[in-house]
């Protein structure tokens, strides 16, 4: 199985991921081979099986929700410390609104 270049570029666009032409060519082959392997799952009839989104185990009932009280937070300075570009207490990004 081979995935088309068009499909690879479409998925890369969904993922907001810039790929070089070389990377696109390699993805066509690699993703194709991996997805073909994954088709193995179609051998199984799962019509009456519930999907498992989380690990399930027997446990006593617990109060998972905490009291609705404010806890300590990072504060703007610490939260912005790793920003590539910040100013006036905000993350800065390229302009998105056209005049």
């Amino acid at each position: 199985m081979k995935i088309s270049e068009e499909q690879v570029r479409y998925v890369a666009d969904l993922a907001n991921l810039e790929l070089t032409d070389q990377e696109v060519a390699r993805m066509c082959l690699e993703l194709g081979a991996i997805l073909q392997y994954m088709d193995k799952l179609n051998e199984l009839d799962t019509r009456h099986v519930e999907p498992m989104a989380q690990v399930l185990y027997e446990a006593e009932e617990t109060a998972t929700l905490r009291e609705d009280v404010e806890g300590p937070t990072l504060g703007p300075e610490a939260a912005l410390a790793n920003a590539p570009l910040a100013g006036a207490g905000y993350f800065k990004v390229p302009k998105v609104i056209e005049r």
Binding site: L17, K40, V55, Y57
Partner: protein, 483 residues
């Protein structure tokens, strides 16, 4: 303290040494740091060191001892921490160019707990980028070499943590495991590695890869030290809503060496093609368990052959969502080609991520995209139910399951990197337990004729770390590593 002394230390010996004033925590920390830094060019196990933080932690231990207070169960113990676990003020890169300069504003819960117990963090260890890989060759900062065989990989993704413990610079280490990233490197490096029950150890401060599968767990050179570190980091954490409320039992009390009558299952699907030297080692390990009084039984986990496809759909889907946050806005790296917002996203990610991360983001995005979601992602979640059910059935007949950790011992650097699917297939024995969320561990089980260590995997029911550790300890004490 000389390197050859540090290399042999156990946690119990550190405690005794501190209490008898044979050395101070600060002296041990200093000596371990020098040892680790001198050793690092040969293995690349550590990405960076944090000497100030280490010495500060050690001095706190010394002050407590001087004041007659209990310095904690890990007092003065040199620890290495995988660089996907956040350390406040100490760079945490996930072995990615993308986070090369990221300095976390808070500590992971596991880090807080181990420091409160007196542990001394020497530095952050190398790994596959964002914990994605089985050889540590996907690190943006170079691969790690196996300390036992420098032309071979240490395993992955937690290869640096395993190498640090195997070389002896750290007594114990924290790693993370999503599909085998603690157990497989532990087996390749001849040490003990534990993936606890899903939810047993808080993931607060673990950089997310696949949230329904991610675990934090310990590495150590012996079962007792691994159990001790697990004891310290386990337990409910309000900062992680998936962390379990179940009380944490006394793990050390389980180390009594008595496994008479324990029913051990060997899943026939794992052994039918295993004719390698690894298989011979595991067979000798099973003989030893039998001699110890275990009842060995043949069992079946019928959906094993679907596990890899199931796992790589679920983990890539979750990874593509989790890695969406690296968009050039918050986490240090932004592309110079950022004229528009869209360009900024695409180029920052295209330049920042390495090949394996890109592959998994693409796969994950594909299996979640319109028209494919049901065929791949939902299908995989249903197959996950079948795999988990296999274990539930098996644990009606046996108390523990024993398998190999990996089909082969440590392979050569570069040997498998060209074929991503072949690399994925090597995870066959570890990912089933991850999908079920049960506790699993690797314990040394002999060596191949070339002297490469083999790991035996032990799996038990949810939250039965006690049963798993009891079996591992009895096996180790009976000479399992020397088979």
């Amino acid at each position: 303290m000389t390197p050859s002394e540090i290399r042999e230390l156990t946690i119990e010996q550190v405690t005794q040494g501190l209490n008898a004033r044979r050395f101070s925590a600060a002296e041990l920390a200093q000596a371990a740091l020098e040892f680790a830094q001198a050793e690092n060019p040969a293995t690349n196990a550590y990405l960076h060191f944090c000497p100030e933080r280490a010495l500060e932690a050690a001095r706190r231990v010394d002050a407590k001892i001087a004041a007659g207070q209990n310095p904690g169960p890990l007092a003065g113990v040199p620890v290495a921490v995988k660089d996907v676990i956040l350390t406040k003020g100490v760079r945490t890169t996930c072995a990615s160019r993308l986070l090369e300069r990221y300095v976390p504003p808070y500590d992971a819960t596991a880090v807080i707990r181990l420091e409160q117990a007196g542990g001394v963090i020497l530095g952050k260890t190398n790994c596959d980028e964002f914990a994605m890989g089985s050889s540590n060759e996907n690190s943006a900062f170079g691969p790690v070499r196996n300390p036992l065989a420098p032309d071979r990989v240490p395993g992955g993704s937690s290869g640096g943590s395993a190498a640090a413990v195997a070389q002896g610079t750290a007594l114990v280490a924290l790693g993370s495991d999503t599909g085998g990233s603690i157990r497989q490197p532990a087996s390749f490096c001849g040490i003990v590695g534990i993936t606890p029950t899903y939810g047993r150890v808080s993931r607060y401060g673990l950089v997310a890869f696949a949230s329904s599968l991610d675990h934090i767990g310990p590495f150590a050179r012996n079962v007792r030290d691994a159990a001790l570190l697990l004891q310290v980091i386990a337990g409910r954490d309000p900062m992680d809503s998936t962390s379990a409320f179940a009380p944490v039992p006394d793990y050390l009390a389980a180390l009594d060496g008595n496994v008479r009558g324990v029913k051990v299952g060997l899943p026939r699907e794992y052994f039918k093609d295993l004719t390698s030297q690894t298989g011979d080692c595991i067979a000798r390990g099973v003989d030893l368990l039998r001699k110890l009084g275990c009842e060995i039984r043949d069992i079946s986990l019928p959906h094993t052959e679907y596990a890899i496809a199931c796992y790589y759909i679920i983990c890539t889907a979750e990874a593509s969502s989790n890695l969406a946050r690296y968009d050039g806005v918050r986490y240090t790296r932004r592309s110079a080609h950022s004229e528009t917002l869209g360009d900024m996203y695409r180029h920052s990610r295209g330049e920042g991520f390495g090949a394996e991360c890109k592959r998994r983001i693409m796969l994950g995005t594909y299996v979640l995209s319109a028209g494919y979601y049901e065929a791949y992602y939902l299908k995989a979640q249903k197959v996950r139910t079948l795999i988990a059910r296999d274990f539930t059935e098996a644990f009606r007949q046996v108390d523990a399951i024993v398998t190999p950790v990996s089909p082969f011992p440590a392979f050569r650097l570069g040997e498998k990197i060209a074929d991503p699917l072949a690399m994925y297939l090597s995870d066959i024995y570890t990912i089933t337990g991850s999908l079920a969320g049960i506790p699993c561990m690797s314990v040394p089980c002999g060596k191949t004729r070339d002297g490469l260590p083999v790991g035996m995997q032990i799996l038990t029911r949810h939250f039965d770390e006690v049963g798993m550790l009891r079996l591992a300890y009895a096996f180790e004490q009976a000479g399992g590593a020397q088979l």
